[in-house]
């Protein structure tokens, strides 16, 4: 058990290291460096920059040094001082920019995750127990369509319908009067009123997928002999269902929790952009479109970090749930 946890922890740290390399490569990838694009901007503004100034700037930014020195500096700054570089587009540190908007992204991701499981587990079990019933068919149809609709299209359609029938803008997370207001109870309520739309958008495909998985794994378990034995023993149907097949069917669900989180985090930026949420999505897209790579690379790193930590947690949960893994290596 302890060995398993240590094993997964080491794996998590290694993955983080690999991700940081990927993020750094992304930062370096666009041709030309920041000094070039700055020189370009000055040129267009009619105030060209001299070659000497350019070199000074390169030296000051440290971009004239070899890549591994730059990488080392980037990582050590990040780990030791929590400094992820400077966004030249915003003229502010990356950490500040991300820190401002990250809580909302996290709120969104976790609300979505919770909604997905709360909705999918009962529906999946019900569909398995009442296989081929009308309800089962309805849920499968909805599921198929949900899986096939790109997140942003769903967001656009919901926004269109909201505009059309409720005359309200469903974009954003606050009504105008609460936009800059300090935190208060009405503001929280207002946030909740707006939050459900992006949560539904983000969660639909994942919920559809989860329902399918739960249905399939519950169906597998329902046919097993031990279920028949328990039934023959006279346990009430509900108790039987929850105690044996459902408990078994939950294993793959918990095991893939990390992937679900990856999926939600992956979809979050695009939904944020379409619905103009004040979360990290628009910030990320803006950074990408302007090749503001320190910000973009930092965001990739943060997004990855959350999914990696999520995977670690889901591994731990699986250990708690499934004794077979707990016993592994002890026998």
């Amino acid at each position: 058990m302890i060995r398993f946890v240590i094993n997964r922890f080491v794996y998590m740290v290694l993955t983080m290291a690999a991700v940081s390399v990927v993020a750094f490569v992304l930062i370096q990838l666009p041709p030309g460096d920041f000094a070039d694009s700055y020189a370009n901007k000055r040129q267009q503004a009619g105030a060209p920059i001299t070659a000497e100034e350019l070199d000074n700037m390169r030296h000051q930014l440290g971009i004239d040094r070899p890549w591994f020195v730059q990488y080392g500096k980037w990582v050590s700054n990040m780990v030791l001082e929590g400094d992820m570089g400077y966004s030249w587009e915003w003229r502010r540190p990356v950490t500040d920019l991300i820190g401002e908007r990250l809580p909302l992204t996290l709120l969104l991701a976790f609300s979505t995750l919770i909604l997905m499981y709360v909705v999918a587990i009962p529906i999946g079990i019900y569909s398995a127990v009442r296989q081929y019933s009308a309800t089962d068919h309805i849920f499968s149809t909805v599921g198929y369509v949900g899986l096939a609709t790109p997140n942003f299209l769903l967001a656009l359609i919901l926004m269109y319908l909201g505009q059309r029938w409720f005359g309200q803008s469903v974009g954003g997370l606050f009504s105008p009067e609460y936009q800059d207001a300090p935190w208060s109870w009405p503001r929280v309520v207002n946030l909740m009123e707006h939050l459900w739309v992006p949560v539904v958008v983000l969660g639909t495909a994942g919920t559809a997928y989860l329902i399918r998985t739960i249905r399939a794994s519950t169906l597998d378990e329902l046919d097993k002999m031990y279920v028949m034995a328990a039934r023959a023993g006279g346990i009430s149907p509900m108790r039987l269902l929850l105690k044996y097949p459902v408990r078994m069917a939950l294993n793959p669900i918990v095991a893939t929790l990390g992937w679900r989180l990856t999926y939600v985090i992956s979809g979050a930026p695009i939904v944020g952009v379409v619905m103009s949420l004040p979360d990290t999505g628009p910030l990320f897209l803006h950074a990408l479109l302007n090749q503001d790579m320190y910000l973009a690379g930092g965001m990739v790193l943060i997004y990855c970090a959350f999914t990696i930590i999520g995977t670690f947690i889901s591994d731990l949960l699986l250990v708690l749930l499934d004794p077979r893994i707990r016993m592994e290596g002890q026998a």
């Binding site: 198929y144 790109p150 656009l156 990856t262 997004y303 990855c304 999914t307």
Partner: protein, 375 residues
């Protein structure tokens, strides 16, 4: 003397002899039982057909601007006119332009007294069919006027025409991406499965790593890093490669696990004992045995790649004009204001949904059929 009789009844499909059928025949029988898969298959055939004959099927050419029908909605096809008289030849109502007295914007007004009958094989704008020969014959058109089945965008371009042409690009990008992913997955998975040991372990860790990283932000960042001055064709190629990088991990896993399992089978041992070379064993004995599984995986990877391309292009980080894909068309519908005025710009999105649905159905059917011996 019984042989010809049997052959005939086999052709009629009345007598199914599982013990005589080939592997692929068994698979087809199993696939046919999956009704939704057949529906998906026909839907895909329709998509491919309209992609191949896009120029001919569309009433206009994609760049054509209709200045008297700017940003206006779909035109309905009618069989009955305002007086409820039946017309054997369907028609659209004529449109006239007027200026809005307040905003002075050009408006298009329905003129119910005038009909534009729909005719087939009409002459319209010239185009080069498959880049081979010039012609001006379109499958259908409205005589005396114009027809916009899905409306027009702000420049007056026909959304229906553009959607058909985008079908070609979207499917071809998907196909190219999937093929590339297929090759990548087969080679890397093959290496892992064949050599095993350390190499296998390293490749499996790599795949695990890629799958645990949120894909969309990473691919967005990759495509944002493409040089701005690249031509749209270069971008097209680059996007294909980026899309392939999404799809290969699954395929590689399948190839590896099947290779590992089949390596231990008796027939492989028999082939080795008969003195077959490694290459011959792989190509003649192993590959046919897991080909069906790879086809399943490709079918499953296709919608994933399709959705990724659409999302990238929708955000303005994928393909760009003048190349048109479904995602590029949806780029115009990015904000609430434009979809509130022109909801028909979302129609290409429905094509995406239907294409992905079709692929998912076919994939489900194929997954069941890939192992025809299971019940």
């Amino acid at each position: 003397m019984t042989a010809p009789v049997q052959a005939i009844s086999l052709r009629k499909g009345r007598l199914k002899r599982p013990e005589m059928a080939t592997q692929w025949q068994l698979m087809w029988w199993k696939f046919k039982k999956h009704h939704m898969a057949l529906v998906g298959m026909s839907l895909l055939a329709a998509f491919v057909f309209s992609a191949v004959f896009a120029e001919f099927l569309s009433p206009a050419v994609p760049s054509e601007r209709n200045n008297s029908y700017l940003a206006s909605g779909p035109m309905g096809i009618h069989f009955f006119d305002a007086e409820w008289d039946f017309h054997a030849r369907p028609f659209v109502y004529a449109r006239t332009t007027k200026r809005d007295p307040v905003t002075l914007r050009k408006l298009s007004v329905v003129d119910e007294s005038n009909h534009w009958p729909i005719e087939f094989f009409v002459r319209g704008s010239t185009y080069k069919f498959w880049g081979l020969f010039e012609t001006d014959i379109h499958l259908f058109g409205a005589k005396g006027g114009f027809i916009h089945l899905f409306g027009t965008d702000t420049l007056g371009r026909d959304v229906f025409t553009r959607t058909l042409h985008a079908t070609r690009v979207s499917l071809s990008v998907g196909l190219a991406g999937v093929s590339f992913a297929f090759i990548l997955g087969a080679i890397i998975g093959g290496i892992a499965g064949y050599f095993g040991g350390m190499i296998d372990n390293a490749i499996m860790r790599l795949i695990e790593f890629i799958r645990s990283v949120p894909s969309l932000p990473l691919w967005l960042a990759l495509s944002a890093a493409l040089p701005r001055e690249w031509s749209s064709f270069q971008v097209y190629l680059a996007i294909t490669v980026i899309l392939a990088l999404i799809g290969w991990t699954h395929l590689a896993r399948t190839v590896r696990s099947k290779l590992l399992a089949l390596r231990e089978e008796d027939f492989t041992l028999a082939a080795r004992l008969s003195g077959c070379t490694d290459m011959r064993i792989i190509l003649r004995h192993l590959l046919p045995a897991f080909m069906s599984y790879m086809i399943v995986d490709v079918t499953i990877a296709f919608p994933e790649i399709l959705l990724a391309e659409t999302s990238l292009s929708f955000l303005g980080l994928g393909l760009r004009e003048p190349v048109e894909s479904w995602g590029v068309l949806l780029y115009a519908a990015q904000n609430v204001r434009s979809i509130a005025h022109m909801p028909w710009l979302l129609i290409p999105g429905l094509f995406v949904v239907f294409a992905v649905l079709a692929f998912n159905f076919v994939g489900d059917g194929m997954r069941d059929a890939a192992d025809p011996y299971s019940k």
